[in-house]
């Protein structure tokens, strides 16, 4: 597979999809790697005390996992020059079990002058969007 060519991109075209399974180990690994030790991401008792249905994934883990689709498509880890999301729904992670993020993306805009394309990501769990306005700008 070759790198996408900016001039050949069409707005609306798919960049593919990715499924990411998150279990409790994923959350503990992300907590350690990121330094975000908020107990709502690993402690059921604490999560319940603050009114959550249970332990939820770090929004930043969902955001970080979703952009992997863009990196894979661009085939360059330095291609993403901006990336923003809104956190619209929490992602509860069962124990035992998995929460599966379904990530898909389309080309949202092409800027030939800037040499960039905008990729619009859709990220859902069980059919419900968990990120809003999830957009990455990629230099190609």
């Amino acid at each position: 597979m070759s790198r996408p060519v900016l001039a050949e991109l069409e707005v609306g075209q798919s960049i593919g999809s990715l499924a990411v399974g998150l279990d409790r180990t994923s959350l503990v690994r992300y907590a350690g790697a990121s330094g975000d030790l908020n107990p709502i991401h690993w402690n059921d008792r604490f999560a319940a005390e603050v009114g959550l249905p249970g332990v939820i994934a770090h929004g930043m883990l969902t955001m970080g996992a979703a952009v992997e689709l863009v990196t894979q498509w661009a085939q360059d880890p330095a291609a993403v020059v901006s990336y923003g999301v809104r956190f619209t729904r929490p992602v509860p992670v069962p124990d035992p079990g998995l929460a599966t993020l379904e990530v898909s993306g389309v080309v949202g805009a092409v800027d030939l002058e800037a040499g960039t394309a905008r990729v619009d990501l859709t990220v859902t769990v069980e059919g419900v969007r968990v990120l809003g306005r999830s957009q990455a700008t990629v230099r190609l």
């Binding site: 990411v20 994923s26 690994r29 992300y30 350690g32 790697a33 990121s34 330094g35 975000d36 908020n38 603050v50 929004g59 930043m60 883990l61 955001m63 970080g64 996992a65 952009v67 992997e68 863009v70 990196t71 894979q72 085939q75 360059d76 880890p77 330095a78 993403v80 020059v81 901006s82 990336y83 923003g84 999301v85 809104r86 956190f87 990455a136």
Partner: protein
């Protein structure tokens, strides 16, 4: 304790440098499922013209949250972290973060807006390298629930 609206517009002093380690870049990439070899393997990073392994697109949060702690932990700011929900996040890169970088962050409190029992606190972390050259900007919005919400 109520949110201190007077904090809007405040700029905190630059942080102590964050030293970007190879293993930190690798561990973060593993945690978010980033598989590109340039996140993990120095030779692969060199092949793409990078000095060392390349951090993933959201790695800057690790650097930014250390700076944001200045606000969260500031008793004057009046932010009860148990009432905080992360609402928005945006990264803008001048260049990718690489292992070996020494990053200094300046935290700005861009706005504090109260609406419908929530305080929306927007911060901006300007991250620069040891030469003072800009690397990344991280804009984060926290929603803080009011006492009765």
């Amino acid at each position: 304790m109520a949110i201190n609206l007077a904090n809007a517009g405040r700029t905190y002093p630059p942080t102590a440098p964050y030293s970007v380690g190879r293993e930190a870049v690798r561990a973060f990439a593993l945690a978010v499922g980033a598989r590109h070899p340039a996140h993990h393997d120095v030779t692969a990073a060199h092949a793409l013209g990078h000095r060392d392994v390349v951090a993933t697109p959201t790695f800057a949060v690790v650097v930014a949250q250390r700076a944001e702690a200045q606000l969260i932990e500031d008793p004057e700011a009046g932010i009860d972290f148990s009432r905080v929900v992360h609402a928005e996040e945006r990264f803008t890169y001048t260049r990718p973060i690489l292992a070996g970088d020494e990053l200094v962050t300046v935290l700005h409190v861009d706005s504090i807006v109260e609406r419908a029992g929530l305080a929306m606190v927007t911060t901006r972390c300007e991250i620069s390298d040891e030469d003072g050259e800009p690397v990344a900007s991280v804009v984060s919005t926290l929603a803080v629930r009011g006492e009765e919400a």
